[in-house]
Amino acid sequence: MSTSSTVLSLTDAHKIYRTGEVEVHALRGVSLEIKRGEFVAVMGPSGSGKSTMMNVIGCLDRLTRGRYILDGIDVSTMSKNDLADTRNTKIGFVFQSFNLIPRTSALSNVELPMVYAGLSPAVRRERARQALESVGLAEKGNSLPNQLSGGQQQRVALARAIASEPALILADEPTGALDSRTAEEIMKIFQQLNRERGITIVIVTHEPDIALHALRLVRFKDGLIQEDRKILPEDDILSLQHPLEAAHS
């Protein structure tokens, strides 16, 4: 059994959306296993099912059919409240648009998941401070989101994601709203967290140069995994581009 080292496993995952008469088959039987300490880049064109899969992995959405086991727990049949608690303790989210709570200090934002976890103020404050320090923002705890640059905001979001020591960090286009230099900085922090602290990271991205920072590539197409391989040192932007996209350019 490899359960101890497996963070998540999807088995024959199906997701069907019904909008009126129309049925959209977003996932058509995806099976995926991610082990502890992996750094996975999920790529694929829009409508390929990668966002749906992220929602499922992030416990924001439930499968229509199939099994999803996160950190040894079967999530497929959980109630809404249990899903919320699972998101709270097992998953750290990083979004494209940072998604910090407005007019609330960076420190309070980082603390927030631990508030919902019911931790005492002293404990969560200390952990929040450490998390901010590990993303290099120890000095900015009292700043409000609108006083921070985009890169700084994303680093606060990262601190929020790692503060409660989740099993998995899920990042949805984390550099989509940043310029390339800042994007590079953020990706360096992701790499550092992955290498030095063994945090499991799954990143959804369009951009091959972002995906290059990861260790494994999962490419979606039409609700199925089209490609799943290691990212090798000799890979470059061109080799990570989708074959079809590459042909066009």
């Binding site: 919320a84 979004f95 709570i101 927030l112 508030v115 919902y116």
Partner: protein, 407 residues
């Protein structure tokens, strides 16, 4: 999640939008202060009536002699309207529902002391009048049974008369002159203020009725204008009225087809009617004010709904990082309850101030009912729960994926 953190979150959220919070609260503030002001205004009026009722004396019946509606004028005596006698007084005293009785003889006179003088009315009675009419003494004594028997020239002054004739000095044991006869001042009545009709009740003086009859008026026939009766209880006033009517008709030899030559007024009935009227008025004012509190509550609901829509994305973030729907619901509910309770508290302060101000301006007795204040405050809290629940529930029911996508 810890309960205290929910409250802190709610307070923080309210603090982010101070103007919106203040304006929303204003509805509740106005509602609560209106309820308190209206109710205490009504109760002030009620207390005013009660005071006046108490001023009439306890369980008082008044018998007025000389009903003017004689048919054919057959029973009209030498003195017009003169139909009550001392015999009537003695007979009424024997009735079981009657506690105290006094004949009342009235006169007017010019009171003179030194270079001061004052025209006032004099009420002659027996020694029971003070108790029957619910008066109190400010200083000195009331006249005794002996004074009544001997028609002593003693007088008890009303406050206004005492103040006018004796500005800044003690009237007790001073001698004043009325119609050229000296009278000794033995007491001063405590002030009663204005009557319901706006008369100065303190512009009066009291003497033994015998003194009024013999010394002041000196008329051939001793005249009794009225008889004042105090019944044993307020329930007994009706029985007393009936028995007195029967007794006097018998004593005056009135036949079944003839009208009474007297009139018995039950002041307790009048008082109760007046009290009921003001109680209804209080209810009415209170309910009108309660409507404004309701409107304030609807305002809260409206703002909370807007706030939920405005903060859809924030709700999505909170849910994504692990807030249960119930925590979101509690946070929004806490916001509206805190809003309402704070508004209620400010409303109580405003309402009390407002009613004190109105009472002062209208020179009414200010009466703040702690019960009305408590109810208005609790009602504002209930308003918060009632009108906050739907928006809070709406927030809690959002789908996190949809909410995160909301721009």
């Amino acid at each position: 999640m810890r309960f205290i953190d929910i409250q802190k979150m709610a307070v923080h959220a309210l603090g982010k939008n101070k103007i919106q919070t203040a304006l929303t609260m204003l509805g509740i503030v106005i509602g609560v202060s209106a309820v308190i002001a209206m109710v205490s205004l009504g109760q002030g009026a009620q207390k005013l009536v009660e005071d006046q009722v108490a001023g009439m004396g306890t369980n008082v019946l008044q018998i007025q002699g000389g009903n003017g509606n004689f048919t054919g004028g057959a029973r009209q005596g030498a003195d017009q309207g003169q139909s009550l006698t001392e015999g009537d007084v003695e007979a009424i005293k024997q009735l079981p529902p009657v506690r105290l009785v006094t004949p009342i003889a009235q006169a007017q006179g010019q009171f003179v002391f030194g270079n001061q003088n004052w025209q006032t009315r004099v009420e002659g009675s027996n020694e029971n009048n003070l108790e029957i009419r619910g008066w109190r003494l400010d200083s000195g004594d009331f006249f005794s049974e002996n004074d009544v028997r001997t028609a002593a020239r003693v007088v008890v002054l009303g406050k206004t008369v005492a103040n006018t004739l004796f500005p800044g000095s003690d009237p007790i044991d001073q001698t004043i002159r009325i119609r050229n006869l000296p009278y000794r001042v033995i007491g001063v009545l405590a002030a009663k203020g204005q009557s319901a009709q706006g008369q100065d009740q303190d512009d009066t003086a009291m003497m033994p009725y015998t003194t009024v009859q013999k010394k002041m008026l000196g008329a051939a026939l001793p005249r009794i204008n009225r008889i004042a009766v105090s019944a044993v209880s307020s329930q007994a006033t009706t029985a007393a009225k009936d028995q007195i009517t029967t007794l006097l008709r018998d004593r005056h030899g009135i036949r079944a087809n003839q009208q009474d030559d007297f009139r018995v007024n039950n002041l307790t009935e009048v008082a109760e009617a007046a009290q009921q009227t003001t109680a209804v008025m209080t209810m009415l004012l209170g309910s009108i004010a309660a409507v404004s509190l309701l409107v304030g509550g609807i305002g809260i609901m409206n703002i909370m709904l807007v706030s939920v829509t405005e903060r859809t994305r924030e709700i999505g973030i909170r849910m994504a990082i692990g807030s249960r729907g119930s925590y979101i619901r509690m946070q929004f509910l806490a916001e509206s309850i805190i809003l309402c309770m704070l508004g209620g508290l400010i409303g109580v302060v405003f309402g009390v101030g407002l009613s004190l101000g109105i009472a002062h301006y209208m020179s009414w007795p200010s009466y703040i009912d702690p019960k009305a204040a408590t109810i208005a405050f609790l009602f504002s809290a209930v308003t918060g729960i009632f009108f906050g629940y739907y928006p809070a529930h709406k927030a809690a029911s959002l789908d996190p994926i949809e909410a995160l996508r909301y721009e």
